[in-house]
Subunit: 392 residues, 2 copies
């Protein structure tokens, strides 16, 4: 079942490949006429790109992402108290990696979450703390190199007890950024994920978290509050493991649907040129801010660098985590009265997170061009959200 | 053999000292006429400076550095995935020095490389990490003070194994910034360089890396992917060691050529008022952005401070490393069809790196004058590249 959510991008593609041929369709001709009338940009390269996007996204429908983002972003209400706009916890950060968990945690705050925690190793904690005093950093995870084998069970117990103390306060857990692949650390994270699931806390999984999950699918299978956000290689591994076949870009939406179903009720956000999202029931795509029109008319394509940050960004999933938390709050408060009420909150979170991330990357690129770094995109999150959904 | 590459600086000097006398040549008179016609800046001081530059660069031809930079900088292509725009590793950073490896690594990202790693000592790692979450910092090197003699062989093995795990992913290694001179650490770096060479990974060597190489010339001799970027003193040591004579500024290009040949197929970038580059076959010079015309007519000479950063900068070689990686990619993709195909990619990397560095330093100086710091120049790298080679 594919649900159409509307259109908000001038170049967004509509319809099924089976029912309309892009270049010859009446819709396309009408679009071309409008673009010409409005002085818009169109040429053979663009047509080619549209066809490529079409091939990539198949019959999935473009989500009305800006309206979804507006619908789930909470109003600023002085009667609310600290924490009500979202408490996010990032599980990640080890001796080797400290940037990724920092980016993940700080971007939650930049979007508007109230509190952002990081659970990481002792080595990583002081560094992550030094990046920003805004974060709450818990130096509690351990890697094999720093402990003796005989101490592992007791340390594992202590780690779990410490995280569990906080668990029910969190609106969403982000597992994976800069986690590394130390076996003892991953064992502890596995237990943390089990506990999050028991407590009904949503889990967004990326990076080394996906490495862990791909080898332990039972951690997320049949858990509707789990979201996986794989990049190209992580997606490939998942498809091979679950569907026992190769990635098929010509039937991308069907394969994504099968994968989400195959794992069992999880939501997957496939980070690509057009982001594809499926919970095993529906498939949506988000392509906005990927078009030249959206890039301030400055050129024909976005940069490779921008695309890198757009699709593999190490804080993408935090945007998803925050919006997923807000979507759950919003749906629960509205009791089924909203136009978005029929959509899975995990899918809503992915759509809104994807749209915001793409806009912020686009904005950062306009300013910094090839020099665009992750920090620059994070600095654009606030303005991007404000542009789509003004605070007042 | 000297190859002429064209001209792109109004004040650039052409020709061989044997064939044309600067002040009386028809070319020079024509230049003077053009400068006067265009309202350009020229006076006795400038003439003197040109003569000094001539004496410094001898018969080397000014490289067409801006066009070379444009030719090797990759197009921004959304189909590329993370890492394809370059993965650089910096080997450096010890208890004493942390700034140099940071500047080296971050400037690679600011130019547009995708990933920048630092391999340093444990003491240095947490500090370098704390400068920026954008870098991947590996705390794996060891200095003598922190280990026992009997543990050295096993620790050395571990260090090498850890670096080797990553080696083939890197497009270029930068060896030297903030490396220090601890004998055990330098022993490990020597092994790392041997492995890089076996893996055919280009190596750009500066600072304490040059100290190591000057005493161990076999590390780079007959390795065409090695680039040395000596400053005045480092150059002096190399000349004395290899050519067994003093530095001769009146025959600078011939001496540089002999030095590069003498070491065997390496490329040397001699950082001076005009940068001189040789691979033992050709000599090129890069003088742009050092002239008052290029400095917005704000003065007659650049400041001593600027010259320091211009010519001895501790991240110069990272620019070279990134452009060298891009040049190799570009040449390999084009299969000999480009105008630059006949030039050694190490020389191309040096020319482009030198030009960008000089422009960034010039731009930073315009803004900050005497206050110009290395960080200010790094902040100008993106705009400088954008000015020469727009992203879109």
């Amino acid at each position: 079942m594919f649900v159409k959510h509307g259109m908000n991008s001038q170049f967004t593609l509509l319809g099924s490949a089976k029912h309309c041929m892009l270049a010859s369709s009446a819709v396309f001709r009408r679009q071309q006429f409008l673009i010409r009338t409005l002085g818009g940009y169109t040429d053979q390269n663009h047509l080619k790109r549209m066809q490529q996007t079409k091939a990539m996204s198949g019959t999935a429908f473009e989500a009305d992402s800006e309206n979804i983002l507006r619908a789930i972003t909470p109003n600023l209400d002085p009667s609310k108290h600290k924490g009500q706009a979202g408490k996010i916890a990032v599980i990640g950060g080890c001796r080797e990696y400290t940037g990724a968990p920092y980016f993940a945690a700080i971007s939650a705050l930049k979007i508007g979450a109230d509190l952002s925690h990081v659970f990481c190793t002792k080595d990583a904690a002081s560094v992550i703390k030094s990046y920003s005093p805004e974060l709450i950093v818990h130096p509690i995870l351990e890697e094999s190199y720093s402990i003796r084998d005989e101490d592992k069970p007791s340390i594992s117990g202590k780690v779990l007890a410490e995280v569990n103390k906080w668990m029910e306060r969190f609106d969403c857990l982000v597992v994976g950024p800069g986690l590394g692949r130390d076996p003892f650390l991953l064992d502890c994270v596995r237990e943390i994920m089990k506990h999050a699931r028991q407590s009904n806390v949503p889990i967004v999984i990326d990076g080394d978290g996906l490495f862990l999950v791909t080898d332990n699918l039972d951690l997320v299978s049949d858990y509707p509050l789990a979201v996986l956000t794989p990049n190209v290689n992580e997606y490939k591994r998942l498809v091979e493991k679950v569907l026992n076949c190769k990635v098929d870009d010509h039937d991308a939406h069907e394969q994504l649907l099968s994968l989400a179903k195959g794992i069992g009720s999880v939501t997957i956000l496939r980070k690509e040129k057009s982001d594809l999202i499926s919970d095993g029931e529906t498939v949506k795509s988000v392509s906005i801010y990927g078009s030249p029109r959206r890039c301030g008319g400055q050129g024909d394509i976005l940069s490779g660098r921008q695309f890198i940050y757009l699709y593999y960004s190490i804080f993408f999933f935090t945007c998803v985590a925050v919006f997923l938390s807000w979507a759950r709050q919003r749906l629960s408060a509205a009791e089924g009265d909203l136009p978005i009420s029929k959509i899975n909150p995990t899918v809503l979170g992915c759509i809104a997170g994807s749209a915001l991330m793409r806009k912020a990357a686009s904005l950062a690129f306009q300013n910094k061009k090839r020099s665009t770094l992750t920090s620059d995109i994070i600095e654009c999150l606030g303005k991007s959200l404000e542009d789509i959904c003004p605070a007042i």
